[in-house]
Structure formats: structure tokens, C-alpha cells
């Protein structure tokens, strides 16, 4: 008895005790039905209200973010397309200048060639003189038949025949010479014709090039118009482009990070010869490693400035705003510094090789093993390779500026889009949570009613037994509420 909990009415039977307590409590539970229902509903509303509010706020934030993203995206797209159009116009201008500058010469050349061709054509048109009219007279003489074998007539006729034959041969030779000269003219005609054809083809190619540029400008203009109109298609195209740029730039930056890692490995050990190997900046970070990293960062920065001053990237507006002379000075300064750093890296790479060789020699002497024979010039290949790598890598790192710019530009769009998605997802989750609490309060109200089902049944019987009329207000039961 003493071991039983205080609430056990029936010793040794807690279930029955609990049932008894429940029966005792039931009238009180019935009496407290309305306030308990109110409390449960209030609790549900208490949880649901702020969650819904937070969800709405997040949804509104997501909308605002999207609008802002759109604005930024279109502004970027407009700027980019305007730049492209400008560049296309520059190209067209260069093309027109180049081609039209040579156009008078081309025209003159064409006219000259046409004139020559015409002249040659005319020359070819000159036909040889036709056979003289006396041919007919000769034919008539030839038809005369000698009468009674008159020898005089015969001789005259033979003389005439001989003369005609010689004249005929002369005429024929002259005729052939004339044709020969015409053929020669025609032979000389061919190169001009080919040159004419080539000149025309050249002019055609230039015109086609110009036409292509014009088509490209048309396409860019169409894109620009779409961006100005802020169409969904333009937004989609710009977002896709930004995403592609982001991933490509990330990939290239990862490759560059690999290059930087190799660079770091090359110079970390020799840097310990300069700043000390046992010097630590933090618990695990050696000064030599940080110094090597600083050199790499300085190289990257110089590369960045070089690309900026060369107007390949546009990360620093101030550099672009510099006067032309100052910009060129800055470009040369960045290049010279980069060159010096590359030289230092090559020297460090050599020192690294020497340090490793020295350590190896020491270890071999400590281990009392015979030193490996020198490989001659083959053994020098890794040293030379390291030096070359040390010299080239800073210049290769300089080009990181280009993907870095793409990354920075596209990260705004991608990050903005990701934030919108996150805000929307969070808003949806909060809405679901709010609804869950709201419905949970309803479920708890129903469960409470199930708990006090007996008094509720009794209440219903009492109601049914009463005569019809104005129903009395039952304690805790609101209008339109089911018992």
C-alpha cells in the first residue's frame, strides 16, 4: 500500500484507479469543454498566425527579390548587348573603312579591265577583207572554152590562171595571219577576264561579310529590343546565359586553383629558406606557406590589373576612367612586376630542387647508403621543367581575371535566383507548418469531445426529451458548433 502512487485508489490495480479518476473527472471536463475548445483553437491560431505571416512576408520578399533580380538581369543584359552592338558597329566601321578606302582603286581597276576587254573585243570583231570581186570574173574566164585549139587564148588563160592562183595563195595567207592575230588577242584577253572575275569575287566577298555583320547587328538589336521590353523570353535567355557562365567560370576557376596549388607546392619549400622553416603564424600555419601564398595572390592581382588595363576585363571602373597615358603606364608596371615575380618563381623553383637534393644527400649520408649516380642532362630535365613551370604559371594565373569577372557577374544572378527559390521554399514550409498547427488544434478539439462522449450523449438525450421551442444555451456550446 505504501508503495502505490498517491493517485491509485484501488491498490494493486492502477488501470481501475485510472478509470475511476477518469469517471470522476468527466463532469469537470464536460463543464470545461467550451474554455478548453477555445484554448485549443487559440493555441492553433497562435501557432498558425505568425507562421502564415512569416510565410506571406517571405513570399513578398521572394517577389521583391525576383523583381530586383529581373531589374539587375535586364540592366546587365542591356549593358552587355549594347556593348556587343557597339563592338559590331566598330567592326562594321573598320570593314567599311577598309573596303571603301580601296573602293576607288577597285573601281578604277575594274573600269580599266572592262575597257581593255572591250577594246580586245572590238579588235576581235575586225574581219579579214572578203575575196576581191574579180573572183567572179576569173570564174567567167575559166568557163571560156578554147576555140579550135587557139594557142594564144590558151596561153592567156594559163597566165591568168597562174596569176589568180598566186593571188589566191597570198589572200589565203593574209586571211590566216589575220585569224592568227585575232587568236593572239583572244589569248591575251583571258588573264584580264580572270582578273575581272577575281576582282568581282573579292567585291562580292566583302559585301557578304558586310551583310553578315549587318545580320549579326540585326540579331543583337532584336535581343536588345526584347530586353528593353522586359519580355519573359529575354529573362529566360539571360538567366540561362548567366547560369552557363557561372558554371563555366566556376570550372575554369577550379582549374586555376589547381594551377595555384602546383605553384604553391613549387615555392612553399624555398620560401622557408627566406622566412624560416620553423616560424609559425598560427598553430598549424607556417610563415613560409603564407609567404608563398601571398606571392601567388600578388601575381594574381598583377594579372588582374594587367587584364584590366588591357581592357579585357571591367572589374575596376576607376582603372577604365584613367587617362590613356596613365592607363598604359599602369599596364607596363603590372607587366614588369609580373615578369619580376615570374623570374623570382623560376629562381625559387631552382632553389627548391637544390634544397631537395641537399636533403637527399644528407639522408643518404646518414643512412650510409651509396649516393645514386648523377643522370647527366636527363637529371636536369625536372629542374628545368620546374623552372619553366615557375616562370609560366604566374602568366597563366594572370588570365584568371577573365573567368573571375564572369563568375562575379553571373554570381549575382545565380545567387539572386537561388535566394528566391530558398525564400519560396521556406515560405511554403512555413505555410505547411501553420496549416499543420491549425488542423492539429481541430483534431485535439475532436479528441476532447471523444473523451467526454458520455456527458455529450446525455446532453443530446436531454435536448431531445425537451419540448420544441427555443433551445436553451448549453454550457460551452457555441452557435453552429457540433456537440
Amino acid at each position: 500500500m505504501a508503495d502505490s502512487p498517491f493517485w491509485v485508489i484501488w491498490p494493486g490495480n492502477p488501470a481501475l484507479s485510472a478509470l475511476l479518476w477518469f469517471v470522476i473527472a468527466m463532469p469537470f471536463l464536460y463543464a470545461a469543454r467550451a474554455p478548453v475548445h477555445g484554448l485549443l483553437r487559440s493555441l492553433g491560431a497562435l501557432a498558425n498566425g505568425p507562421l502564415r505571416l512569416a510565410a506571406r512576408t517571405l513570399a513578398a520578399t521572394a517577389r521583391d527579390l525576383r523583381e530586383r533580380n529581373r531589374a539587375v538581369l535586364f540592366a546587365q543584359g542591356r549593358e552587355e548587348t549594347a556593348e556587343r552592338i557597339g563592338r559590331e558597329f566598330e567592326r562594321v566601321a573598320a570593314l567599311v573603312k577598309r573596303d571603301l578606302e580601296g573602293y576607288p582603286a577597285l573601281q578604277r581597276k575594274l573600269l580599266d579591265e572592262i575597257t581593255r576587254v572591250e577594246e580586245d573585243y572590238k579588235k576581235c570583231g575586225e574581219v579579214p577583207p572578203p575575196p576581191p570581186d574579180w573572183v567572179e570574173a576569173v570564174s567567167a574566164v575559166a568557163k571560156i572554152k578554147p576555140v579550135n585549139g587557139n594557142e594564144l587564148v590558151l596561153r592567156v588563160l594559163e597566165e591568168i590562171n597562174d596569176s589568180i592562183k598566186s593571188i589566191h595563195e597570198k589572200t589565203l595567207a593574209e586571211y590566216r595571219r589575220a585569224y592568227e592575230s585575232r587568236h593572239k588577242i583572244l589569248d591575251g584577253f583571258m588573264p584580264f577576264w580572270r582578273s575581272l572575275d577575281k576582282t568581282l569575287a573579292q567585291a562580292d566577298a566583302r559585301m557578304t561579310n558586310l551583310s553578315d555583320r549587318a545580320a549579326s547587328i540585326d540579331a543583337q538589336m532584336e535581343r536588345y529590343e526584347m530586353i528593353v521590353k522586359k519580355t519573359d523570353r529575354a529573362e529566360h535567355a539571360l538567366t540561362t546565359s548567366a547560369l552557363t557562365q557561372f558554371f563555366v567560370a566556376t570550372l575554369v576557376l577550379a582549374v586555376a586553383a589547381g594551377g595555384a596549388l602546383v605553384n604553391f607546392k613549387l615555392i612553399a619549400l624555398p620560401m622557408s629558406e627566406m622566412v624560416g622553416a620553423g616560424d609559425y603564424l598560427t598553430a598549424t600555419l607556417r610563415t613560409s606557406e603564407v609567404a608563398a601564398l601571398v606571392i601567388i595572390f600578388v601575381e594574381a592581382a598583377m594579372g588582374l590589373f594587367l587584364m584590366e588595363t588591357l581592357r579585357i576585363t571591367h572589374l575596376f571602373p576607376k582603372i577604365h576612367g584613367l587617362p590613356e597615358r596613365m592607363r598604359k603606364r599602369m599596364m607596363w608596371t603590372a607587366f614588369v612586376l609580373l615578369l619580376c615575380l615570374a623570374g623570382i618563381e623560376a629562381a625559387l623553383a631552382l632553389m627548391r630542387d637544390m634544397l631537395i637534393a641537399d636533403k637527399q644527400a644528407l639522408l643518404q649520408s646518414l643512412a650510409a647508403t651509396q649516393a645514386a649516380a648523377a643522370d647527366g642532362w636527363i637529371g636536369r630535365i625536372p629542374t628545368v621543367g620546374q623552372m619553366l613551370l615557375g616562370f609560366i604559371l604566374p602568366f597563366a594565373l594572370a588570365f584568371v581575371a577573365i573567368p573571375l569577372e564572369s563568375f562575379v557577374n553571373s554570381a549575382r544572378t545565380v545567387g539572386g535566383a537561388a535566394l528566391v527559390v530558398l525564400a519560396r521554399a521556406l515560405a511554403a514550409a512555413l505555410r505547411v507548418a501553420g496549416n499543420f498547427f491549425k488542423h492539429l488544434s481541430r483534431v485535439l478539439v475532436t479528441l476532447y469531445d471523444i473523451l467526454i462522449v458520455l456527458p455529450l450523449i446525455a446532453e443530446r438525450w436531454v435536448k431531445q426529451a425537451r419540448p420544441a421551442g427555443k433551445p436553451p444555451r448549453v454550457a460551452g456550446l457555441h452557435a453552429g458548433e457540433r456537440p
Binding site: A277, G278, D279, T282, V290, L362, L363, L366, A368
Partner: protein, 220 residues
């Protein structure tokens, strides 16, 4: 490992200025004091000590310290330090110092003479003093001995010694003829030393008979 360091260096760079003031430069250095027993029959083992010295020279980094001292009848003296060096921060200079130290130890092992008594305690006190002077983050005393201490009548060593934060490692503890008769003598001797060293505040007490196991110990 290198990549991790690279990333670590990359991430730690912004906090560099802050960290520079807080870093304890000495905490990363390692100082080792090698006591070489030259008493009695153990003097024959001195050649093996050269191997340990060579191994230490190959393992220790620039900025670390190494001292090699002999254990004689009375070992609490700087004169018993055969060779010592705190290696330069520059790797090339450190390598040159290591070569010199190796030559000094080689010369010693070639001309080591046996002593009558064995004053390990005196050597330990001397070693602790040397290590504390270096201010290294990790301090280790290697005792190359059979750990059989024999003192002359005048030598007083039965007082508490201070080996705080020092790791003491007994290396190549060979068994004596009497140990073979009764191994409890050997085990009891080591146990006594452990108690004494731990009571002196040593960070750790270890016995390593296989030199190859020294590698893991020094790296830890």
C-alpha cells in the same frame, strides 16, 4: 595533406594579422636530449647510438634542437655533452649543422671509453636543464642505456628531480646476465624508473627496444 594545408592557408589569410600576434613560435619546435651510456659492458653498444643520432638528424626539422651527452660516473656536467645544436631556420644551414653534428658523434663513438659508474640521474637533470633552456614545445630525453644506475659513494642523487613536461624514453634497454637469471630484476628496474620519472612530473615514460618504433614515438 598539402591540399589541406593550402586550403587552410587560404582560409586563414584574412585572420593573419590577428593571429600573428598570438602564435607561440616555440610551441612547434622539438628538442631532443640523447643520453648515451658508456659505463661497463654497455659501452659496446655505443655504435648503435650512432644509428639513433642519424635517425634523429633525418627527422628533426629546422628550428629543432638536439644534444648528445654521455653517461659516466658523474654525468651532471656540460662537459659530458658531446655535441649539441639548435638547427637554423633555413633548411640549407640546418643541413650543414646536421652534417657537423653527425661528424662529432661519429668521432665520439669511435673513441668512447668505458666508465666505472653509471650516473643516469645526473644525466637526466642535465638533460632537463638543456631542454628547458631551449624553450621547445616538445621535449624528449632518450636514454640509451641498460638503466642500471651505479653511483660512487660520494655522488648524491637520492632527491626528487624535476622533469615537468618532458617525455622520457629508455632505448635499447638490454638485459643483464642477472636479469636472465631472474627477469623480475629487469622488470622491477624499469618499474622503479617509471615511478621515479612520473613522480618527477614527466609527461610520458616509454621503453623502446626496437629502434624502428622510435619513428612513431617521435612523430606523435
Amino acid at each position: 595533406m598539402k591540399r589541406r594545408r593550402f586550403v587552410l592557408a587560404l582560409s586563414a589569410l584574412p585572420a593573419l594579422a590577428l593571429a600573428a600576434g598570438c602564435a607561440d613560435q616555440r610551441a612547434h619546435t622539438h628538442a631532443v636530449y640523447l643520453l648515451v651510456d658508456t659505463s661497463g659492458t654497455y659501452a659496446e653498444e655505443v655504435g648503435k647510438a650512432q644509428l639513433i643520432v642519424n635517425y634523429l638528424l633525418g627527422t628533426l626539422q629546422p628550428g629543432d634542437s638536439l644534444a648528445v651527452a654521455r653517461v659516466r660516473s658523474r654525468s651532471f656536467s656540460e662537459k659530458d655533452i658531446i655535441a649539441k645544436a639548435t638547427f637554423d631556420q633555413r633548411p640549407s644551414q640546418a643541413n650543414a649543422q646536421k652534417r657537423v653534428l653527425r661528424d662529432q658523434v661519429e668521432a665520439f663513438t669511435g673513441s668512447a671509453r668505458s666508465s666505472v659508474y653509471t650516473d643516469i640521474t645526473g644525466g637526466l637533470i642535465q638533460g632537463a636543464m638543456f631542454l628547458n633552456e631551449t624553450g621547445a614545445g616538445k621535449k624528449t630525453i632518450l636514454i640509451f642505456s641498460d638503466m642500471q644506475e651505479e653511483l660512487d659513494k660520494a655522488a648524491v642523487r637520492n632527491f626528487p628531480i624535476d622533469l615537468k613536461d618532458i617525455r622520457v624514453v629508455a632505448v635499447n634497454v638490454v638485459k643483464l646476465k642477472t636479469d636472465n637469471v631472474d627477469p623480475r630484476r629487469y622488470l622491477g628496474r624499469l618499474e622503479d624508473w617509471e615511478k621515479r620519472v612520473v613522480a618527477a612530473g614527466a609527461r610520458e615514460w616509454r621503453v623502446i627496444n626496437d629502434i624502428e618504433h622510435l619513428d612513431a614515438l617521435l612523430k606523435s
